[in-house]
Symmetry: C2
Subunit: 461 residues, 2 copies
Amino acid sequence: MAPSLEKTIYIGPFVHSKSLAELEICTKGAIGVDEKGVIAFVERDDVEGVSKKEGWESAKVVEVKDNGFFFPGFIDTHIHASQYPNAGIFGKSTLLDWLNTYTFPLESSLSALPRATTVYTRAVSRTLSHGTTTAAYYATVHVPATNLLADICLAKGQRALIGRVCMNSTLSPDYYRDASVAAAIAASRECVEYCRRIDPSGELVAPIITPRFAPSCTEECLHALGALQKETGAYAQTHISENAPEIALVNELFPTHKGYADVYDKAGLLNPKMILAHAVHLTAKEKELVAARDAKISHCPASNTALTSGCAPVRDLLDRGITVGLGTDVSGGFSPSILEMARQAIWVSRHVAMHEGDHAKLSVEEVLYLATRGGAKVVGLEEKVGAFEVGMEWDAQMVALESVPEGGERHEDGFVEGVDVFGWEAWEDRVAKWLFGGDDRCTVAVWVRGRLVHSTGRYRG
Amino acid sequence: MAPSLEKTIYIGPFVHSKSLAELEICTKGAIGVDEKGVIAFVERDDVEGVSKKEGWESAKVVEVKDNGFFFPGFIDTHIHASQYPNAGIFGKSTLLDWLNTYTFPLESSLSALPRATTVYTRAVSRTLSHGTTTAAYYATVHVPATNLLADICLAKGQRALIGRVCMNSTLSPDYYRDASVAAAIAASRECVEYCRRIDPSGELVAPIITPRFAPSCTEECLHALGALQKETGAYAQTHISENAPEIALVNELFPTHKGYADVYDKAGLLNPKMILAHAVHLTAKEKELVAARDAKISHCPASNTALTSGCAPVRDLLDRGITVGLGTDVSGGFSPSILEMARQAIWVSRHVAMHEGDHAKLSVEEVLYLATRGGAKVVGLEEKVGAFEVGMEWDAQMVALESVPEGGERHEDGFVEGVDVFGWEAWEDRVAKWLFGGDDRCTVAVWVRGRLVHSTGRYRG
């Protein structure tokens, strides 16, 4: 059940995606949000008149100040909350040695609940502060710690898919793996049930079946997880085709399958409720299969660059009609910010373009779509979040930019917002400045389903 | 003459480059800086004893708090101060259309001194806040505005090379170019003399001869600028081999030369006091020529990616013994932060490695070297700045990181520093976390020649 809120009218400029190519910039808007956090009206013309709307006369008013605008909350379609303390720590490693050197030891240590509390509390606070209103999380193999992550997201009010990581193959370290297929399935079932008990509506927190990736699971385990997904109707998430040695390993481990995607497909896991992270090196046939199954893809540009995995062919995926969102992939990715990922998606698309031509380039509009509506489609919430439309829920952030005064001298209190607007910029350019120069300082307030879940000292609601 | 300062002992951890491959992390140090801003001692063992050193008994003490460390100030070897308002505004453009669409109109507008005051004041404040203690600036063609930039740097205490941009070719727009070779040289000479008049020692502000790039200048103009450099002994800076259409244009404009580097060489401009920005597509023969002439290279990774110019082969340049530093190239580059450039240099090196193998990868140590000592060599200040050694000057920043408390809850005043340290990280990992997650919030104080030139509310000197 949604919490009961004060009816609120959000007044000021708002920016959101109409489609992949089109960003709407409404420089004078008013959005009414009802007691359930649902958008009741979006006014673009008679903004002054909204306070006289029947039933809205005594509504609370929240106004954008500081050169800013409302923007939909970000969707992080792939993030390992358990790896947050390692953000930025990867050296010159690539996927398989990175897992053994940095990742498994840290994840394993989260069996201790005090440590898990510290890490997950911080990870959720941080992602909220960066404007992430929905996240598809990987936790660890541990049931209590995974359930703790669900508790924290529910308490802090972040929409989250909570994934207990399954990994039963002997390729996983002996100190950190599921003891058997039966144990893996039982533990996963426990986490599914826990999420559904603490949030029966599933409006905020829902479970997600999470085979780590094909090399971590036996074929039997993958099939059992496919069956568990079918039985529970839950979402699923995993990794696919991230780097060359990993793909070679999969081909070696599953010699009778027709490639990486086929491993998941045969297990019943390639379906519209599957989120595949990376998809850097899929073959044309695999892309066709992913498209045919309507499985979703989480593009993780920062991670793919940092670990030298490669450049995901996002334009090609989009041209094939595949649904794509953005993922931070902390801590393969170094940042918990989806705004940073939108930038990184631009950079990766430029590197693809250097070899394959300008068609590959993603625009400002396109990466902001991937960060919001694209991500919403990946996690199955496209009717509810990702844009400002009547009937959608108020998952939003208030963005503030800094006005440079004449003479250019800084304010007494220093540079707070981080993005300088001189005043002569067109609105499109202000949005671009935010994309390329912004950070969590610009996100002065964040709401999920109408509830204020984060704000900075600069927010005066 | 250096201003007279209070003798100061800087106590706490410090981090700096010993060489390209080696970063020294001294977890308990004390650095004494004399009244002229010169490092008198660097103590690594008996830190407690420094206050009893003869002559230092009553010295001021500045201590690192907040999980931080001292780090040398950054050197930005290529930045267009005049383009700062356009940071983040470039769309899908590439070099030559970017110049005409975004750059020339903005630069041209700085003929108005009130606008130049606002832009330059802000640009210098911002770069200082990001820890840039030395910058090689491009201004515009306008003499008064260029001289104003010199005044602002001197007043704010930033070391700067001030370049009046020369561009007399008819390829430059008619509303924004030098009227003739004679006019270009006269104007450049005026700026050289102005800098030398306001800072006769050249300790803070010095002039730099600045042919924009070969397509902007006639051969006669380039030769005259080469002669002016020789006559004045000043540094010089320009662009080279940034993208393919530009190189084709140079070959077309200078058909009797043996390529882009040769155009500058024939003009007498390829010498140890020349800073070449970009150098993305130099041929092997050109690299040999650059190495033979000991000209320096400014690597501008953010710009090269944003404008789809290509990936500079930094490892190859270093292997050839060429001196390389980092440049933000605002606003081809979207950020005035050299810390961001160090990250971007890592990303570009990963993209080179995807095609050419692991040898191309730059390490954390290497990019931090490029950001400090490498840059110092590029601008000819390697004896004075870039590291903490006795006899060098105190160009430094105090870096603060955030300690995550047990339980993970945020401080009352929110996330101030932006980089979370959990407490179990090795020192090397803390530095990596700063590199990949840090921003200007981490830079709580900045000194140039011992003078405090920037600080945030968190600095308690």
